[in-house]
Symmetry: C2
């Protein structure tokens, strides 16, 4: 798995609870190693730990809240990593897939909530659009990670999972352990 982290900007607990949770779950399921959440919200950390404990990832997936996303971006650049900001105003991912092959890791992927400050556009190494239409940061993150991992992320498994799905044509089947 690659050194990929996600920075979720401007999280407001009441309004963004469920969408940010989806961002975190997509990050985990599609092969990121952790998420930084700009904002203060203990519940989302609790919810995530519960998922990690059941479905796996507890031993390495990290989640933490931060006061100011800019500090994370600055640190990332000081340390020689790459910063990608997902925005519908950026360059269509289909037009820069070759360039993305060559980026230096660790990679920080920024996803906003409402309006994102201009600072992030100027300080990101790449502003990448997952289509130039308005839709969802959850979908944008999923498609971006899918392009990075070329579909292999769909087979992700977690060694420390207590519950594992056995894919079925109809119905549900799981194996429990621990």
């Amino acid at each position: 798995m690659k050194e990929i982290y996600v920075l979720r900007l401007g999280h407001r607990p009441a309004r963004d609870k469920r969408v940010t949770t989806h961002v975190v779950l997509v990050a985990r399921a599609f092969g990121a190693k952790g998420v930084y959440i700009e904002g203060n919200d203990e519940n989302i950390i609790k919810t995530t730990l519960k998922v990690l404990n059941t479905w796996g990832g507890y031993s390495y997936f990290t989640i933490q809240t931060v006061n100011n996303g800019k500090e994370i971006v600055k640190k990332w650049k000081r340390d020689g990593g790459t910063v990608v900001h997902l925005t519908m105003y950026g360059i269509n991912i289909a037009d820069i897939e070759n360039e993305l092959e060559k980026i230096r890791y660790p990679l920080l992927i920024i996803v906003g909530s409402e309006k994102v400050e201009g600072w992030y556009y100027y300080n990101a190494d790449y502003n990448v659009a997952i289509s130039n239409q308005p839709h969802s940061e959850v979908a944008a993150l999923a498609i971006f990670l899918d392009r990075i991992y070329k579909g292999r992320e769909l087979y992700m498994e977690f060694g420390d999972a207590r519950i594992k799905i056995i894919p079925q044509k109809v119905g549900k089947k799981v194996i429990k352990s621990g």
Copy 2:
């Protein structure tokens, strides 16, 4: 564009407002022709019409609420269309991509919110997992449509758009008309 519609089950206005909005926006941006929402919510229709009016799709994208999603599924099967239910318990999409090439349209894609009734598993033609990990119906819908359209959906444009993004390496550029 293919004859694809999305059925969003169990929408509860207060709790699901934003996630269902993301489902609708992904449906539009990734090449579906409309969404059925099980539940009662005038606001989500208003929000959607506003987006269609500004960003395009007003002339053909349809959104409507329904009392019972089962009626839509029954109608779909009577009319000879295909019903796909997206669920993490299903067959991994990576393992049935060839089969999906051969499905009959119109296609109805079902996405749930919380727990989905067993009836849907039994009445769907395919239960498809976008990875067998828990994450997000928004991400699942995006990846599914991406596989159907093979990435071409990322270049979707809408003839009746009043605002159009000109992709930029840094910053925002739009053209307005009408």
